[in-house]
Symmetry: C2
Subunit: 267 residues, 2 copies
């Protein structure tokens, strides 16, 4: 733990009944300002932050169905995910939701829905949108920001499809780690060469389409190859260049699991 970032660490518990603000939210608020909330919502935002909500790990964030006043739910701290369960218990994580991400726009229709679930302790705010006609048009700057965010989210979904459909296990893992690093770096929650990974390996498994055991082996392969380090919930990217090549499928040498026999001890 190298900085003040304590995002989702285990000891980060609700104090008694009043949860402690468990993260540095300044970078996120700054990101929101950049969006277009600047010219339109100066202290509305501050008031929203004052009324922020807290969620326990594994709690569902879909608590309001189409509220009367148009509003924007934003993840301020902690990790969440969009997921769906199959009847036999299998879980698929569609995407990770990181601080600064927008939580709106879920489709909650019928049995083929997507649920937003907290993976760590989570803090959110509700920013009421100006009551324009059809909730758009008043602050076109903001509407544009929402559209951009939505489009980025779509791009991430497509990246996820590439991983699941056409990448090998190591490639998928490398790509996902790079995505998380990039997104966390963008909101000031990661360093140039490391980022916090506050989820268990079976959560990564449900995001990558692996089994938990295979997540473990894949991570160890990346460690053995000196591409990453991983301990205490912190991932260090030792060789980002090779990681990027690996994720692109353009690595000269193929990484081999199951080291045949030798190369285990001093030899």
């Amino acid at each position: 733990m190298t900085s003040g970032v304590t995002l989702g660490v285990k000891k980060e518990v609700v104090a008694g009944g009043l949860p402690t603000p468990h993260a540095n939210i300044e970078p996120i608020v700054r990101k929101l300002r950049q969006w277009g909330l600047s010219g339109i919502e100066p202290q509305t935002l501050k008031r929203s932050v004052a009324k922020r909500k807290f969620y326990e790990p594994n709690s569902i964030l879909d608590d309001e169905f189409m509220p009367s006043s148009p509003r924007l739910k934003i993840l301020l701290s902690g990790w969440a995910c969009r997921q769906r369960l199959m009847t036999d218990g299998r879980r698929m994580i569609f995407s990770f939701l990181l601080p600064g991400d927008i939580l709106g726009g879920e489709l909650k229709c019928g049995p083929r829905l997507a649920t937003v679930v907290a993976l760590t302790h989570v803090m959110t705010i509700d920013v009421p949108l100006p009551p324009g006609p059809e909730n758009i048009g008043v602050s076109s700057e903001l509407a544009n920001a929402i559209a951009v965010a939505k489009s980025e989210s779509d791009g991430l979904l497509h990246d996820q499809l590439m991983r699941l459909g056409r990448m090998s296990g190591t490639e998928s893992m490398a790509d996902l780690l790079l995505e998380l690093h990039r997104r966390l770096l963008a909101v000031g929650l990661a360093g140039e060469r490391w980022f916090p990974l506050p989820v268990r390996q079976d959560v990564l498994a449900d995001a990558l389409g692996f089994s938990a055991v295979h997540v473990n082996r894949t991570l160890q392969l990346l460690r053995r190859e000196k591409l990453i380090e991983y301990s205490e919930g912190i991932v260090s990217l030792i060789n980002i260049n090779r990681l990027v090549c690996l994720a692109n499928g353009t690595l000269p040498e193929a990484l081999r699991g199951h080291v045949p026999f030798v190369a285990r001890g001093t030899a």
Copy 2:
């Protein structure tokens, strides 16, 4: 071939230089009318249909970058797909685009883009949207229709993620076939128990994350189990109930590939 539907059949060729309208577009136009084009664009739609465009298989449908006038591109006949290529040639098909689907809203940013490619001969129309401020607000009915279509498309993407991430090969195949049947049935291009499948098996492979060989074996497993029939580009759903159960992961018996030894001849 039991009806007038000739969607994407091989003999369906461009005549000389003037392509022949190669499908019955009435159901699609009717679907468009239901959307809200009824109250707003009575003969604008007809004029658009008159100026319809044709594309060869494997041609790219992304021919205009953010046109000045807001417009809606709609697939009238034929199959297309959204896809992305990796540098080494691997292809992933994100989604199939069937008659009646909207082609807009692609993200064409940087290297992580999605391309729309024709899989068969394709016919499209461009419906100019009323020039409202920010291209919305004028026909909120139509804007709503677009939003609904977008949300359905998102749901399909999530179904695709379930297939790739958490379903077995047979489950994925059954689920995809059911999705295609349902969507084609909705626009009148399929029967209650059959639908046209005018793509090669390697195209299915790129959509399911399989190899072409494995697509073949999976299809044969479904045929051997008397769940479907498949020939001449037509899929017949013999036992829809069991197919649905299979896609849900709630099948009592597990389908076995690689029939051990017996059960090949008369026994």
